[in-house]
């Protein structure tokens, strides 16, 4: 069985062409990024708005919880039967699954910003928009990225299942292999999609590390060290129980 898998994955014929592994990986990434981009365009502004105004938190929290209970295969088959077979309905289903984690964690990140930080920003003369872009978003970034990360994993995984409703991508090996009773082919699809998911997860973990303001993590930057990273004020904020201590634990 394992030998069959190794034979399948090492056969150059299985890597080239429209139905080759290379193209399937690109397709899979294509669906994932397209859906993630649309979901982000919808969920991020709503999450920011709810977090910034602190109105409608009910919506953000409950859609997040309800989405976790929604069976993905049910959603996929439902959307395809309602709209028809094709890529568009599947992308719609993937977007629907991507929205709640992004919206919920953006809301959580922005609304979790310390009130005194916002008061300080307002006291410095920042407008509402400036408070959002210069204080709330940078501070909420670890959580926003962690929301994007969960959305991506959900979408990668569901895009595999979507091969059942006639989508391309790596799920094709799983579904076609199943109908042909070709276990090595199924295993190839499963292993590749697992590796893809882990790699994407690592990319987001790295992004969370490096996209977060150096002022928050205390990570040194060449040429721009103003001495702030070793200042007594920052040290006090970083003390256990200080405002920054919680943030420095990272996104999860």
């Amino acid at each position: 069985m394992l030998q069959g898998f190794l034979d399948f994955i090492s056969d150059p014929a299985n890597w080239s062409g429209a139905e080759g592994i290379g193209n399937r990986i690109l397709q899979h990434l294509g669906y994932t990024f397209l859906s993630l981009a649309i979901a982000t365009l919808i969920a991020l502004p709503i999450g920011l708005l709810i977090g910034h105004t602190r109105r409608g938190a009910f919506l953000a929290i409950n859609t997040g919880n309800a989405a976790r209970a929604l069976p993905t295969l049910g959603l996929l088959t439902l959307v395809v039967l309602l709209i028809g077979i094709g890529q568009v309905p599947v992308i719609i289903a993937l977007v629907v699954l991507g929205i709640p984690p992004i919206m919920a964690s953006t809301y959580a990140g922005v609304s979790g910003v310390d009130r005194s930080t916002i008061d300080a920003a307002r006291g410095m003369g920042m407008t509402g928009r400036e408070i959002l872009t210069k204080a709330e978003i940078p501070i909420a970034l670890p959580l926003i990225i962690s929301g994007l990360r969960s959305a991506t994993l959900q979408i990668v995984s569901t895009a595999t299942v979507a091969a059942y409703v006639a989508l391309g991508g790596l799920g094709r090996y799983v579904i076609d292999g199943l109908s042909l009773r070709d276990f090595p082919q199924m295993l190839t699809g499963a292993v590749l999609v697992a590796v893809l998911a882990i790699l994407l997860d690592l990319v987001f973990a790295a992004a969370a590390r490096y996209a977060v303001s150096a002022g928050l993590t205390g990570r040194r930057r060449r040429n721009s060290d103003t001495g702030w990273s070793s200042s007594p004020t920052l040290r006090r904020l970083r003390r256990p129980g200080g405002h920054l201590a919680a943030l420095e634990k990272g996104p999860r």
Partner: protein, 217 residues
């Protein structure tokens, strides 16, 4: 509507299977992650690698795990053991973090008080540490249960998926009713399970209610 009337027996059977496939992994996950979490609090260098491993395992797509497991376990591809093992892996990956955090939330002076009045390790863990950790563990358990209930359906693609089989049936017959019934029942099951867990948590932590505004007589 007539379809529902004609197929009540089938729907019941799939609901029962769905419940079984979702709840057994949840219980197994709890049984595995509690001792594992305890060991990780005793040997604290184990905690971070275990939580990190859990993160990686949780990122594996369920359909992939359902198919890779037979190659590792030597089970049949169409065996429900694969679904149960896969969902147990997800449950442990998520719960391990909550168990460790929960056990660590027990105040040091409480532990010392227990030891000084003569509690042995096992008795202390079961009667003191775990009850105090219940709120944190239950937060994870609720996520695991709801996620499991929705994930079982994916198994329908390989032929074992409880209510998920209503989705494949509906899709193959181009017929909406079974899919809607499946989605509604699956959501309802998740909701009921979540409410029951909240209730169970209240029963297990009677002291949490003392803080309510109504004073004891």
């Amino acid at each position: 509507m007539t379809w529902i009337g004609d197929n009540t027996a089938l729907i019941w059977e799939q609901l029962r299977e769905h419940l079984y496939l979702a709840l057994v992994p949840m219980l197994l996950g709890l049984l595995i992650s509690i001792p594992l979490g305890y060991v990780a609090t005793r040997f604290s260098w184990l905690a971070n690698p275990l939580v990190a491993l859990g993160g990686v395992l949780y990122s594996l797509p369920s359909i992939a795990l359902f198919i890779v497991l037979p190659a590792i376990l030597g089970t049949q591809v169409l065996s429900s053991v694969n679904i149960i093992v896969a969902l147990t892996i997800y449950a442990v990956s998520l719960l391990i973090r909550n168990v460790i955090d929960g056990l660590r939330s027990v105040p040091e002076d409480v532990l010392q008080a227990a030891v000084s009045v003569g509690y042995g390790t096992l008795r202390r863990v079961v009667t003191i540490d775990l009850p105090i950790a219940v709120p944190v563990i239950f937060a994870g358990l609720r996520v695991v249960t709801v996620a499991n209930i929705s994930m079982v359906s994916v198994g329908a693609i390989i032929g074992i998926g409880g209510l998920g089989e209503l989705f494949t049936t509906g899709f193959q017959q181009d017929f909406l009713t079974p899919i809607v019934v499946g989605v509604v029942l699956s959501l309802a099951l998740a909701l009921v399970a979540d409410i029951l867990l909240v209730g169970l948590q209240r029963v297990l932590t009677p002291w949490a209610r003392v803080i309510s505004p109504v004073k004891e007589a």
